[in-house]
Amino acid sequence: MSGGAPIRTQGPVASTGTIADHSSSGRRASAFAPLDVPEVTVPESHRRTRAPGLPRVAEIDIVRHYTMLSQQNYGVDTGPYPLGSCTMKYNPKVAETVAAFPGFQRTHPLQPDATVQGTLEMLWRLEEALCEITAMARATLQPPAGACGEMTGLLIMRAFHADHGGPRTKVLIPDAAHGTNPASVRLAGFEAVNVPSDERGLVDVEALRGLVDDEVAGLMLTNPNTLGLFEERIEEITAVLHSAGALVYYDGANLNAIMGKARPGDMGFDIVHINTHKTFATPHGGGGPGAGPVGVAAHLVDYLPAPIVARDPDGSFRWDRDRPRSIGRLHGFNGNIGVLVRAYAYVFGHGGDGLTEVSELAALNANYLAGRLADAFPLAYPEAPPMHEFVSTAEPLKKETGIRAMDVAKRLIDLGYHPPTVYFPLVVDEAMMVEPTETESKQTLDAMADAFLQAAEEAHTDPGLLHEAPVSTPVRRLDEARAARHLRLRWGLEEEPDRRP
């Protein structure tokens, strides 16, 4: 086994100082052409009186510092990243190449439509493809992330009900849902109501029936659900909602499982958001950017955020801003276009056949890895087979050894791997949510499984290894309680007065 996750832990400048610690009076990196017009100054009442404390550094200082920091970071390019629910698959390099074409990267959001016909056609084709994949009528590409897509969908629900019998107050959410769902529901002006899961980890349809009334605006659901299980009674579920005049929202967090196999619109969903950074491999960027396009069924098209791309009879494209029933705008411009170029590259590079194979191999990898881990880390809900990801539990291991999911996660770091998501979903004790994705090979999965099993074995034979882990990283376990108690959220003059710029 390797000697820890493949990130930098030592070296000539692997100190932990900030860029400000490299600051020297009189040093700088930037330079500008001489001012070629008469100099003008700000009226005194508007003038800044004290220069901001930015670092004074040379370009080499910047390059060494941030290169060193990049080497203390683990990405998909560094190694496997089975972070459940985040779909950390390989991000094709060609997507970076095409997104950097000046025709995409150097266009201004307010330039005339006639000068961005290529981008508008790209967006049009992407929208059509997303609608085919999800069985929706039209889509907005404006939301910059999944959570904003949720808000978009919920405001569409709100507007729909306002036009059809008046406002409703509640939105149903399964108890295993991602936290953004209930947060979005409240911000959209609804009350979030939990739907319990049954003993198999699926929506308790009988309980759902009891919750649905004419105050319910809709239900938000992933399918496969947060446990990686397909909601087999999905048609019944959507019918229950529809019969009460409510809408059903598909949270696309787990779309990677079903491309070319089943489509949310065919299951009865009315609104779908898609996380391009998950399913369509746009890089996660250390936390973002993503993009959260939202598709809707035909009866909701009028409510989509404005503008949307329109094609005129002469084949030219334009932004259609004249949409009186639109819920309005959710982004300053038209969304994360640079991310959507990458999503386009992924969708059309793979094609329909390739996307279908993506979902097939995502499911194969998850089932294979789940099987390899089952003895030590059994599935939390073993009755239904998982799809693209699975939730195992370290509860038996904890009972036997006292070792927790977090300890296993930290030991995996020392064994060379990014850990899975732990302690989510909240409905599973000692949850380990594993999403290997389709871009890992059998060899990688075998080696990763060996590491999980080694950690489980060590929990019995040498638990100190797990309690102490990680020991191979630039820092070891960090004191999160202290971070929250003694807030230090920026560099400050008080702590290092002589090193500040």
């Binding site: 930037s30 920091l69 936390g287």
Partner: protein, 435 residues
Amino acid sequence: MRFSPHTDDEIREMLSAVGRSSIDDLFQQIPPSVRLDRALALPDGVSEMELVADLRSLASRNRSADDLVCFAGGGAYDHYVPAVVWALAGRSEFYTSYTPYQPELSQGVLQVLFEYQSMICELTGLEVSNASLYDGATALVEAVHMSTGRGRNRVLVSAGVDTRAVEALRTAGRGAGYEPEMFDGEPSVADDVAAVVVQHPNAFGVLEPARERFAAAHAGGATAIQIFDPLSLGVLASPGELGADIAVGEGQVLGNHLNYGGPYLGIIAGRLADVRKLPGRIVGETVDVEGRRGYVLTLQAREQHIRRDKANSNICTNQTLMALAAAVYLAWLGPEGLAEVGRRCLSKTAYAADALTALPDVTPAFPGAPFFKEFAVRLPRPARAVIDAMVERGFLAGVAMPHAGEDVLVVAVTERRSRDEIDAYVLAMGEVLAA
């Protein structure tokens, strides 16, 4: 394109290991009635070289700012992006990672975000920032949501605020239960007013009397929110100095490309006392078990994954990569560079405004008002028609502001524009307007 490494033999071996005879077996739990019984109606996949040709062909049908000299602004600006920014932000250890849930493997991103937060505080003169929001408009929405509650639910928005930001606020307000109210001049701040929003410099480039507006907000017990331009803060007084409680801005100008509107960077900064209302990820410094300095996501109890329906914001995925670029760019600028960019914008904009308003029938829309890197003029013809005609002469002439009048054009001049380009632009405008 295919990025799965599986061979046919491996697929068979793996299926056999999980006790399945075929791939289709893995999807058996999908009821037949909802199973897609046909192939997706999409083109077949293509090779990388075919894909590049397709996208090159699409991109070639766009006119970029390399080709049209850019005087367009309105929230997105053609500032210079030094090579070092994306050479570093483009390192894949950063951009192929995700939210730093495992801090021991994520010290790189965490520390850059800590540095970014620090630099934003230095710029704004405020005490706390976060790890980014989507863009300037959504940052405004989040700032307003920090201010509402406790019987205060009205939001007063200065007439100089960007219309798209107001639209985003109006959309969010439909869910959150407020309707932005526009004011011109002095706001009337009653005890039910949550926030007073001022953009300074405003959407027409004009410097607003922000200090007075914020004093009025405070006199009425409301939160003072400033929309700021980060690149103005080498020359203009900071939001903190002006009395803003919360400052939000569009961070595209800090090393991020135009990207036809996104991905951009939502900046927010505020006071330490309000940190528990601040949305999104926040990085804090701490120590590890051996006492070494390290960084973690902190105050997570504010966030959606803990507080769920009690959370103040639903943001999860953010714009970290853009914040990273901003940190590198600000380190490249340094305090002198920031001031130099500001002086260049100011001086070139003044030069362009003088030359443009010397043309017949072109008049300043706000005569005598001081401005920073944008100015508004009234033209003798509709602005949109002038913009279209200027494209044919190789210029993005500016941004139309129909809500202020069909004849209003807002012109942005960044440090990139040379005197020659400005002179050629004014000459072309003269021709277009005379035609």
